[in-house]
């Protein structure tokens, strides 16, 4: 990679969107989005397909122009600027390598376009190929490479002239799981060593949680929550975020009153619920004044701040590192419990067995619905 610092002085965040709206005909793909990506940050737009996250990325790249609002790159207003005049490069989902060019010509394209001398062009293309561990593939054609190798060429091509921001559109979507996990680590490492701002789009919550410094969860053209992965996971701002990022038990209305003991909408992560002996669960001392607030309550709160409940196991799925239990509570509420496969299970942890569940009261946290 090129080492000298860029001449431009940065006066603002790497990317800033201000009330950006994009309509396609009558469909509003992006709805008044405000977004700030800091310099040197690994930022991820996470959302289901059709949420508008790719449109957001294409607006930043310049392939689409916003219907309303303002887009800034490093403090400069680039609304209306064509893609070739923006200091950003894109890694496309299908890589979009030029089939008639060699790997080397593909990687050097941004330099060729800018009229960089041939010797320097080749040197820098090779440097970029070395960064993605593909030196020795320079003379090949894209058609002669595997999916993972094409992915790396696309990365090298986008990084060769050190753009201010690298945009990645579901870059790992076409790879198999093992390669995807390997590339996750590699992408993160690449971002750290180059210091380039990465703006990634994905629907894969695992990918977002593993790589990002910050995540914005997108839904229906709006941003539901922005924050570091831990915050988004542990304190989802909305019920949608709780459900989309990780697995959760979402309890609303009467179910919340019965299980959590309070009205509202609550989320309990499945790994926070412990499996106990059913006898042990019912033997716990109820906390003073909190016992049986209504006849419709299925769980109790003990003196040490733990909620306990007894239920029946309806389903057990062994998922490798953990086992997933589905437990039916009295009154028909269901809880999903994840348990690390570390030690032996309670005697009754078998299909149709009676089981006790317990969790810290603070692990059932309210989410605005």
């Amino acid at each position: 990679m090129q080492t000298q610092a860029r001449a431009t002085t940065r006066t603002g965040p790497a990317v800033r969107l201000e009330a950006v709206t994009k309509d396609f005909g009558t469909v509003r793909a992006v709805d008044a989005v405000d977004l700030t990506v800091h310099e040197g940050e690994f930022f991820t737009l996470l959302g289901p397909s059709g949420s508008g996250k790719t449109t957001l990325l294409r607006l930043v790249a310049g392939f689409e122009q916003p219907t309303g609002g303002r887009i800034e790159l490093a403090g400069d207003d680039v609304t209306g600027t064509p893609p070739n005049r923006r200091d950003v490069h894109t890694v496309f989902q299908d890589y979009a390598l030029f089939p008639q060019m060699s790997v080397e010509q593909n990687v050097a394209y941004a330099l060729t376009v800018r009229g960089v001398r041939k010797a320097e062009r080749l040197a820098r293309a090779h440097e970029a190929l070395t960064t993605v561990r593909l030196d020795g593939f320079a003379a090949r054609r894209p058609a002669e490479l595997s999916g993972g190798q094409r992915q790396r060429v696309a990365l090298a091509r986008a990084l060769v002239d050190r753009p201010a921001v690298l945009l990645l559109d579901e870059p790992l979507g076409a790879l198999d799981l093992a390669l995807r996990q390997e590339m996750q680590t590699e992408l993160k490492e690449l971002q750290r060593t180059t210091g380039i701002t990465f703006l990634l789009v994905t629907h894969d919550q695992d990918e977002a949680l593993t790589m990002s410094d910050r995540i914005a969860v997108v839904r229906d053209g709006r941003i539901e929550q922005t924050g570091p992965p831990v915050e988004v996971y542990e304190r989802p701002a909305t019920a949608f975020v709780a459900g989309f990022v990780g697995t959760t038990n979402l309890l609303r209305g009467e179910a919340a009153v019965r299980v959590v003991g309070r009205p509202g909408t609550y989320s309990i992560r499945p790994e926070r619920i412990l499996l106990t002996d059913p006898a042990e669960a019912s033997a716990r001392e109820p906390a003073e004044g909190s016992a049986r607030q209504s006849a419709e309550s299925s769980a109790e709160t003990s003196a040490d701040g733990r909620r306990t409940v007894t239920g029946r196991i309806t389903d057990i799925v062994h998922a490798g590192a953990h086992t997933r239990f589905t437990v039916m509570l009295p009154y028909g509420d269901r809880l999903i419990v994840h348990r690390q496969n570390l030690t032996g299970l309670p005697e009754s942890a078998r299909p149709d067995g009676e089981i006790g569940l317990s969790w810290d009261e603070r692990d059932a946290f309210p989410v605005p619905s």
Partner: protein
């Protein structure tokens, strides 16, 4: 891949392919072989009968008579000119159809390009004769600018042949441009390329084989044509006319003459093949 064919399936395959292959070898290649063979015979100048004696007199005459060389060169030039004109017309038209026009317009435009192919050849050629004539549309349109129409002659032949074969050039170019993924153009712009750079580095490499493929049609159809030149060519003589007029007088000479376009086309195909254009046909 399917497994190795069983004897039964091989029999069925043979039965299926035999009639068309027989047709191809006998009717098509066979007649071509007889044509080339008869070029080595001669005609008795008194009786006009074909004399079946093996000799190369016809080819000797062909190569030594200046008028044949002139006509062959003229035919070649016209075929090249028609091909160049068609390529220059087809590129912007195909680009507009495949990339600029909306999805709704693509089909009507494609139909508009194809419709002339459905009309009779003679109808189109005579229509041009009327248009290029003394009081034709072409002359009338050029008159306000102080220009004259080309009249009947070589230029008229190029114009009409270019018109006749244009769809054969537009279609492959259009298909190539339509196959070009939008992502490629975006990637090029994304990496800093302007419109011209993208056209040169990304679009043209894709279009080049298609233009060559189209040129196989425009070139070979122009080489063999002899009706258009009779209708709008005035006194212009092309290989086609000469062959046509010799067929009744001196069949072996006509056969020798028709070897010229065959050789030219074979050379052209070899050149185009080297450029890799036949892969996309």
């Amino acid at each position: 891949m399917p497994a190795a064919p069983t004897p039964g399936s091989r029999l069925r395959l043979t039965a299926l392919l035999a009639p068309p292959l027989l047709w191809l070898t006998l009717a098509y290649l066979g007649s071509l072989a007889i044509l080339l063979l008869s070029a080595f015979w001669t005609t008795d100048s008194f009786t006009s009968d074909v004399v079946h004696t093996w000799n190369t007199d016809n080819f000797h005459e062909l190569l030594t008579t200046p008028v044949y060389r002139t006509i062959a060169l003229r035919t070649l030039s016209i075929a090249v000119a028609v091909t160049v004109v068609d390529a220059l017309l087809a590129l912007p038209m195909a680009f507009f159809m495949a990339r600029v026009a909306g999805r709704r317009w693509r089909r009507p435009l494609l139909v508009a390009v194809l419709t002339p192919l459905w009309a009779g050849y003679l109808v189109k050629a005579y229509a041009w004769r009327v248009m290029l004539g003394e009081n034709g549309v072409v002359g009338a349109a050029l008159a306000p600018f102080g220009l004259h129409g080309p009249g009947y002659g070589t230029t008229a032949v190029v114009i009409v042949l270019a018109y006749l074969w244009l769809p054969y050039m537009i279609l492959p170019v259009y298909a190539a441009l339509e196959r070009l993924p939008e992502r490629m153009l975006e990637a090029s712009a994304d990496l800093g390329a302007g419109a011209w750079r993208t056209l040169r580095s990304v679009v043209l490499p894709v279009v080049r084989p298609a233009v060559l493929a189209g040129s196989v049609f425009t070139f070979s159809l122009s080489l063999g044509d002899y009706l258009t030149v009779q209708i709008v060519g005035g006194k212009t003589q092309l290989l086609g006319n000469v062959i046509a007029s010799q067929v009744t007088l001196d069949l072996p000479m006509a056969a020798a003459l028709s070897a010229v376009p065959v050789v030219l086309i074979v050379c052209y195909l070899a050149a185009v093949r080297r450029a890799g254009a036949l892969d996309s046909l």
